[in-house]
């Protein structure tokens, strides 16, 4: 289960990502705890966590938000592959940044990406998920942290 300070690490990582990569701060809603897998948007980048913690971290966002994010990054390729690349990179960056507080034994995988369908994300047994709501411009996305 995630402690309050650990949750803060992910909130700060998310805030920092949008401030630096998108050059426009996101508004982070109050994190909440949920049972099962929260609903996902069009694209979802998933990082598996192993080592001193086990579980997953995923970033899920609608295509419209990712398109604007790519524009802000001066990117001019808005293909399906680039959307997949972006959600994976966001999940990777926020998870990797969390090692500043969790340390190097917080081992992160390369991203896997789900798109198009509305899948159930497989959560490790016995975990509950913290959902961090992200509002950026007129769009909504989520960072979901589910760790033992």
């Amino acid at each position: 289960m995630l402690q309050e300070q650990e949750l803060k690490t992910f909130v700060e990582g998310t805030t920092n990502y949008f401030e630096v990569a998108a050059q426009q701060p996101a508004s982070i809603g109050s994190p909440y705890l949920t049972e099962g897998s929260p609903a996902v948007h069009d694209y979802t980048g998933i990082i598996s966590i192993s080592g001193k913690r086990e579980g997953i971290v995923y970033f899920t966002a609608p295509r419209a938000m990712l398109t604007v994010l790519l524009m802000k990054m001066q990117e001019n390729d808005f293909s399906h592959e680039t959307m997949r690349d972006l959600v994976g990179e966001v999940a990777n960056t926020i998870s990797g940044n969390a090692r500043r507080d969790f340390g190097r034994d917080f081992i992160i995988s390369v991203p896997s990406v789900l798109a198009g369908e509305k899948p159930e994300i497989p959560l490790p047994p016995g975990t509950r998920s913290f959902v961090i709501p992200i509002n950026w411009r007129s769009h909504s996305a989520k960072l979901v942290v589910s760790l033992k």
Binding site: E75, D85, N92, R99, G103, R104
Partner: protein
């Protein structure tokens, strides 16, 4: 705006061959687009450590930007192999991994600089300037 290498002694600025290694296409393009050094010539990009070594053998770059979390071969292992092939290569790690132990390990394997993702264009160019200044 391009940044030129200074040549206070009247010699032409040295040029450097650049290789970009990152498993994200977006990041590879971002680094290529954002770096502002006239003296850097991009010789290729790779998406994992195995491809990076093969490209390195073919193109003999002087400067490498290196991601760490990649499929097939990670950046730490790749750094060690590149330094074996060319001890004088200058390597800038560009990674989301933000713990100090990882930065220290990368430097011990032969990296010359470390830049955390996400980064601004200015941070990228300052890190590259530091790398090629010597």
């Amino acid at each position: 705006m391009a940044i030129n290498g200074s040549a206070p002694n009247g010699r032409a600025p040295r040029s450097f061959k650049l290789m970009i290694v990152d498993d994200s296409n977006i990041m590879r393009r971002r680094i290529e687009r954002s770096q502002q050094f006239d003296e850097l010539e991009l010789v290729g990009t790779a998406g994992n450590g195995v491809d990076a070594i093969e490209l390195f053998r073919r193109t003999d770059p002087d400067v490498v930007t290196m991601d760490l979390t990649m499929p097939q071969m990670d950046g730490i292992e790749c750094i060690a192999k590149l330094v074996e092939l060319k001890p004088a290569v200058r390597i800038l790690v560009i990674s989301a991994l933000a713990d100090k132990a990882t930065a220290v390990e990368a430097m011990e394997k032969g990296a010359n600089g470390f830049l955390n993702k996400p980064f601004t264009d200015r941070q990228l160019n300052e890190a590259i300037a530091e790398l090629i200044r010597e």
